[in-house]
């Protein structure tokens, strides 16, 4: 028997949901996403067997439905990754963050950048390309790029470094020519010298033993990971990253994420068009 379509969601119910979802995740929807949000909410209402929006909202707001919150967030976010995604943060890296870090380094010192979660590798390779092409002082330092993910399948793909046109859509032809080898139609492989310079490793950020292997990091790119965590896991993850960073180190979060909603351990800094978060310079 077909399940009846749930009642339509009213404007005020949707407004209430937008506010709740923003407080929970930092993701703000506006009415131009109304159809998208409503469709997915209706799906969750049906999937949980809730009678209507009111019953569903009550269950996520007043019960501790961690699993359902996770399902809800998954359904509301689109996991798509590609080269130079949210590139204003890479601009901030080369125009602001790295020059700031370099002020306290000597030529030949290491600058350590960690991409977590690195998924299939687009983010750490984008960081590498940006640094090589757009930071004039890159040659003065030993830049180590670490890239980690909990999913070993995506790590294998990241190590292979093979991508289709869609992943490379934001790269210029010159960048494609300089940093990729054409394999066959719709398949490009990142050049070996870049591929081999990046340290890919599996990690569960919630495992203290694993995270102890990551120390003296200058910059962490941790974009669109923490929104999937419940509050206590988010606290633990942020505190774990605090331990990983050098004093004065930086964290870059996803565009919808805000550290001020998770922890007061970091200070916001504005570079280029984005806000990043810095561990206190005098901290230990």
């Amino acid at each position: 028997m077909l399940q009846a379509e749930p009642k339509p969601i009213s404007d005020e119910e949707l407004a209430k949901f937008y506010e709740f979802f923003y407080r929970k995740t930092g993701i703000m929807f506006s009415d131009n996403k109304r159809y998208f949000v409503e469709r997915r909410l209706q799906d969750r209402i049906v999937a949980t067997g809730s009678a209507d929006f009111r019953a569903y909202f009550s269950s996520i707001r007043f019960q501790n439905s961690v699993n359902e919150i996770e399902c809800l967030i998954n359904s509301m976010t689109v996991n798509e990754t590609y080269f130079f995604r949210e590139d204003y943060q890479f601009t901030a890296l080369v125009d602001g963050i790295c020059p700031d870090i370099a002020e306290n380094k000597k030529p030949g010192d290491a600058i350590r950048i960690w991409s977590i979660p690195c998924s299939t590798g687009e983010e750490p390779y984008s960081i590498a390309i940006y640094l090589l092409d757009r930071w004039s002082r890159a040659d003065e330092f030993d830049i180590e790029i670490l890239a980690s993910d909990i999913d070993t399948r995506v790590l294998a793909s990241a190590r292979a470094g093979i991508y289709g046109e869609r992943s490379l859509q934001k790269l210029s032809n010159s960048e494609k020519e300089r940093y990729f080898t054409f394999l066959r139609q719709d398949q490009y492989q990142i050049r070996d010298e870049i591929r081999e310079s990046i340290d890919f490793s599996p990690i569960n950020v919630m495992d203290p033993k694993q995270i102890q292997n990551y120390r003296n990091i200058d910059v962490i790119f941790c974009r669109n990971l923490l929104i999937y965590f419940d509050d206590i896991s988010r606290r633990q993850a942020v505190e774990a990253m605090y331990e990983c960073l050098v004093p004065g180190g930086f964290i870059c979060l996803g565009h919808s994420e805000s550290m001020s909603r998770m922890s007061s351990l970091f200070h916001p800094r504005k570079f280029s068009e984005t806000i990043v978060y810095q561990k206190d310079v005098s901290s230990r």
Binding site: K16, D139, E144, I145, I232
Partner: protein, 209 residues
């Protein structure tokens, strides 16, 4: 020389932390008072595995000046999440230290089942500031009795600021059933323009007008 592969496996601090993992309660408690913040954070993190450490961790909060250590202590207390922890944290709702008070509110919001037996008492505390903190806890508490507790405040708390805090929460989470309650609140404080304004705004918001 630009991009290089990572040269070392782990740095000194990590090696030290590895060596100290799995310590007993008796080893950890003195470390909670160590002079360096790294050791205190590490001890606080490990104490999350020791429910008997709650009194020591809660006791450390007042004198602990390093925000990063405080943060880890709170995380460990949230992981322990017991009635004892709630009992030990609740007195800090009276603290003069606003950062500590706010951190306690946030921690207690993470313990919905354990705070339930204490909520009535917090909401009837003689100190209106404590009652405001209790309402603030309700603002993000995932517990089915939240609407009931908020209604109770709206209907009977004598202090305008406590009621205003509850009104804010209801405006955000309430539905049309809350409207008569809110109207009742306006009648309880007829000479307070702010309450009348806030009630009208909350009702408009709930009705989507």
């Amino acid at each position: 020389m630009a991009l290089v592969k990572r040269r070392d496996g782990k740095a000194g601090d990590a090696a030290r932390e590895n060596a100290s993992a799995g310590r007993s309660l008796n080893e950890l408690l003195p470390a909670l008072g160590a002079t360096d913040a790294v050791s205190r954070r590490q001890a606080a993190r490990e104490l999350a595995a020791h429910p008997n450490a709650a009194p020591a961790m809660c006791g450390q909060l007042e004198g602990e000046r390093d925000a990063s250590v405080r943060s880890v202590i709170f995380t460990s207390l949230i992981k322990l999440k017991t009635r004892t922890v709630v009992e030990l944290l609740a007195p800090y709702l009276r603290s003069e230290d606003a950062a500590l008070r706010n951190a306690v509110v946030e921690a207690l919001q993470e313990m919905p089942e354990d705070i339930e037996p204490f909520m009535d008492s917090l909401l009837s505390d003689p100190d209106s500031d404590v009652r405001i903190s209790a309402v603030t806890i309700l603002g993000a508490l995932a517990h089915p009795r939240v609407p009931e507790w908020l209604s109770q405040v709206i209907q009977s708390d004598p202090h305008i600021n406590v009621c205003a805090a509850a009104l804010d929460c209801l405006a955000e989470a309430g539905d049309e059933e809350a409207v008569p309650l809110l109207e009742g609140l306006a009648h309880r404080f007829p000479d307070e323009p702010y309450i009348n304004f806030a009630v009208a705004a909350a009702i408009r918001r709930i009705k989507g007008e």
